[in-house]
């Protein structure tokens, strides 16, 4: 059974605040990597690059969030941890420096449901 790491919070408000911190952090990280990030009414939108030419693709889909918030079975709220993604090895340091809210990071099983 596969697992992946999640960040868990006691309330939707806390999860939202933490995800906003992560999205701000990611925006700064992408800009430092040479990507364009546009502010669209407070939502930071990452512009992708063409895989062949490396050119910015402003008319293609943009990345608007790291993840969406889901409700857990125990009344908690969670989203995917950046620890799942090797592109962000030092995210916890940056998150702490930005004053990000406390979280519980734990493994969640991926259930392969029979249909």
């Amino acid at each position: 059974m596969d697992t992946y790491l999640i960040l868990e919070f006691k309330s939707h408000h806390d999860a939202t605040q933490s995800l906003n911190t992560i999205n701000d952090m990611a925006a700064s990280w992408w800009v430092a990597q040479g990507y364009s990030v546009l502010d669209n009414n407070g939502v930071k939108e990452l512009i992708g690059k063409n895989a062949k030419t490396g050119q910015d693709q402003p008319n293609k889909q943009r990345v608007i969030s790291w993840d969406i918030i889901r409700e857990g079975e125990n009344g908690t709220f969670y989203f995917a941890s950046l620890s799942n993604d090797p592109r962000f090895p030092n995210w916890k340091d940056d998150y702490g420096a930005l004053g990000g809210l406390a979280y519980v990071e734990r493994a969640l099983s991926i259930v392969s449901q029979e249909v």
Partner: protein, 238 residues
Amino acid sequence: MLGFLNGIASANQRSASEIPTQIGGLQLWLDASDQASITQAGGAVIQWDDKSGHGFHATQATGADQPLTNSDTLNGLNVIQYANDFLNIPPTSYKTLIFAVKSLNMLGISPIVGGSGSFDNEYVFVNSNKLDADYDISVDGSAGKIANVYFGEGRSGYGDNINLGNTNAQNESAAIWAVDYTTTNHADYIGAFGQGGTTKLSGKIAEMMFYDRRLSPQEFNLIGQYLADKWSLTWTHI
């Protein structure tokens, strides 16, 4: 009939890369080897362009659900690597689905395409069991919708939960699959099924095509051979 066969013959004479579009009814065509069709950030796929001309591009605006590009190859060509990821597509109707994969989840379900909302019971997934090396393909919950399922190594079957037997694929599941529906099916996701993409894919997709009609055996063979030649896979002619 003669005109049809002439059409097949002339398609053979065209550039191999044009074969998917030369067969009528192409709705959606995703080709991982075409780097120009991929928009990425740090190797994560944001958009995988539809090459059919319909603009049914596969997209993912959420970073945590994005598959990777340029992380692996098949026959020296790029494949898209899913690790519990999926892409969204505009609602797409189809009667034929053909796809080439490099590897799939060896211990469970590998959703290839699926629907959401009122179509969340419409899906194609491959179910593998490492213990007996069987590969099953499950296609929709409705009996009678499937005419045939073809596995590139020569097995075929029909029904809504097809056990193709031991494919000797436990160590290398690179293969071509084709699904021939009797009725129209719907898809909203590449690499997931269920509302919101509840079950996601861990595996690698090389190329896939959707057609809005049933294909003839000759047409299946044209596309199957095109994929086999391109990705160094096996296609047993129907």
